[in-house]
Symmetry: C2
Subunit: 394 residues, 2 copies
């Protein structure tokens, strides 16, 4: 285990903390660009409360609304232009993962010279951003973890490629995490968020280096907590206790605490990103389809780890430390959990067929690949493996 770690984001967590937005943002300047998504924050009154908090604290606002799911490079460019022309000192992201990711890249784009796509993974002569406006994130969905990390995923609609960027300057200065804001999220989106957060930790749990027993326990803790409290949040969206536990799990699942030292790639995310770049499918829904299929593909490579998963998450008794039957049962139980939350687990449920399987595979390895052209992971995955994985999920 050899690694470096730093996460400087200041968290303000708890029901009702939206009211602190103005005070928190005012530490960074006098004018904020408020970035929002498709309009739900306007309809449910959250936007008005955010504006009121900002204005009361003496922070003037400009707005960039309409960030779409799977946010586009063109939207980032639009937001950065507003931030520049309006002279904004700080960017406030009020929304889900797409809104926060777009806002973080807008903050860097304000200072970035040249083509923005040059900062994304998979580019030759990639140039990471080194400076960004301060960002305050206010998530309205428990899913992404973007509120407290330095990463962002952006889609290039011209090339239908979805890629990511991660840099120290992209860490939000503050994250105001108010579980009450997630109370109006409908059951399906709640379930997709829960799948997303669980997948963040299964990625490092299965694909990380050996010799990380404490990180394993942390990952299992996130899974068990999400699987205990997630169904309660889906059953009753107004259950703020359940919303609180799910949201804390989602923050921790991708703020680096679980992944520190695991040096993990994210093959399941990489494959899903390609699906949602090509199709109008929610990221968490895509993960619910890809993850169990990937697990069945990968289980034989690391049988003791999959057996451990079966035992510690589902209490399945192991006949041997590598018990393949127990491992398979664990994956079945995990898939059944996802189905029980309302997630799709087959491509056909989302209308995606087998026409573009080869294209998905090619696009995926374009973003991340080893010297043999394979998607990094345990095991590394060739293009034909990706096709096989997706075919098994048709």
């Amino acid at each position: 285990m050899k690694f470096e770690f730093r996460n400087p984001t200041h968290l303000v967590f708890g029901a009702g903390t939206l009211s602190k937005l103005g005070e928190v943002a005012s530490a960074h300047g006098k004018k904020a660009l408020l970035v929002t998504g498709s309009g739900s924050v306007r309809r449910n009154g959250t936007l008005d409360r955010a504006l009121s908090s900002l204005h009361t604290a003496g922070v003037a606002t400009a707005e960039c609304s309409g960030v779409e799911p799977n946010p586009r490079l063109s939207t980032v460019e639009r937001g950065a232009a507003i931030a520049r022309s309006e002279g904004c000192d700080v960017i406030v992201a009020l929304g889900g993962g797409s809104t926060m990711d777009a806002a973080k890249v807008m903050a860097a784009a304000v200072f970035y010279e040249g083509d923005l796509w040059q900062m994304m993974a998979g580019q030759e002569n990639r140039i990471l951003p080194t400076k960004a406006l301060p960002v305050v994130t206010v998530p309205t969905l428990a899913a992404t973890g973007s509120e407290m990390n330095g990463g962002a995923v952006i889609t290039n609609k011209k090339t239908t490629v979805k890629s990511f960027v991660s840099a120290p300057c992209l860490y939000p200065k503050d994250a105001i995490i108010d579980p009450e804001l997630t109370a109006s999220v409908p059951p399906d989106q709640t379930a997709f968020g829960i799948c997303d957060l669980i997948t963040h930790v299964t990625e490092s749990y299965f694909n990380g280096v050996d010799g990380t027993p404490l990180q394993d326990r942390f990952a299992e803790g996130v899974m068990l907590t999400a699987m205990e409290w997630g169904p309660k949040a889906i059953a009753d969206g107004s259950d703020i206790e359940a919303r609180t536990q799910v949201q804390w799990a989602s923050v921790v699942a991708l703020n680096g605490w679980v992944q520190a030292g695991t040096l993990s790639p994210y093959p399941v995310h990489m494959i899903e990103h390609t699906l949602s770049a090509h199709h109008d499918i929610a990221h968490g829904a895509g993960l619910a389809i890809v993850n169990p299929a990937w697990m069945r593909f990968a289980a034989g490579t690391r049988p003791s780890r999959f057996a451990q998963f079966a035992h510690r998450i589902f209490g399945i008794t192991l006949k041997t430390p590598e018990d393949p039957d127990a491992a398979a049962e664990g994956i079945d139980r995990f898939e059944a959990f996802l189905r029980s939350t309302g997630c799709p687990t087959r491509l056909s449920e989302t209308g995606i067929g087998d026409r573009l399987l080869e294209r998905y595979a090619s696009d995926t390895v374009l973003v991340a690949h080893d010297s043999e052209g394979r998607l990094p992971g345990r095991p590394p995955i060739s293009k034909s493996d990706i096709v096989d994985i997706l075919r098994s999920a048709l």
Copy 2:
């Protein structure tokens, strides 16, 4: 669950990372005050390697050696005077918890006006420090967690009171955590460190607020990892894999990741601090005596939590969710684990008798007490309770 959190410390973790000290420290200036303890780093060559790394990177050094276990206010004053007179830009702490704690308070003392003791808990008109020199911690013992948090414990020898201070400016800028540096720690000190790190998480696990299921899992993860790998590190100090796992557990046990949102007081630490202020006893050894005794006292207040501990840590079957017999067995098993590592679990083993029990109780509530004069915790503890707890551990 409602809280704020920030931990900005930059971690460099892994065997061999001491060689990066110079590069890391040079980012903060041209002259470092190197703070060390009783001389073991000089004898085993670690000091020379640290100096070599600093000098190679162009960082000149002044030294403050001889920080004692349970570091004294007078030592902090001595170090701050050296830092001032030598014009140091950065303080490097190379040693165990005492050395790091002293170095952090020296860094603040350089700028602090008036009596340093005024920054410590328990003082009327307490004035927290707001500015400090940058600190780089290099722990040589896996125990305290001081390398990645903003707290420090200092003893006032004039009054025999041991108190603590915690402030944002006390977070080290960087922590270089090289498990190889702990290979020469003898078995008893290794065991005391393991007891210390476990106690950091049992404090919040038992004394924190309700409704923190993920934090519970994290705390259990730290306990299970320390109890799995600790005995290996004690049995073979040169087992770098075991040293690595124990050290990572010790960092995480008190860097805030487990405690976030638990709002926990630390009654067991408070009681132990009084013992080690009065007697020449290692902090971790004192905790091994106080913690099981405190657990037996507290178990009836929160039976389901103690039953959960018995079940999840020791696999003890629960007849009911509050099963008191299982809870008692869990505490017995925990005490047996501590004994198996070589820790004392009775005051008499350390030569401490019953003469000063009332004094320990008075001194403890001096540092932290509620409006009724009781030590905060679950339950709050009166002075006579403290006497009873310690008497049960004679």
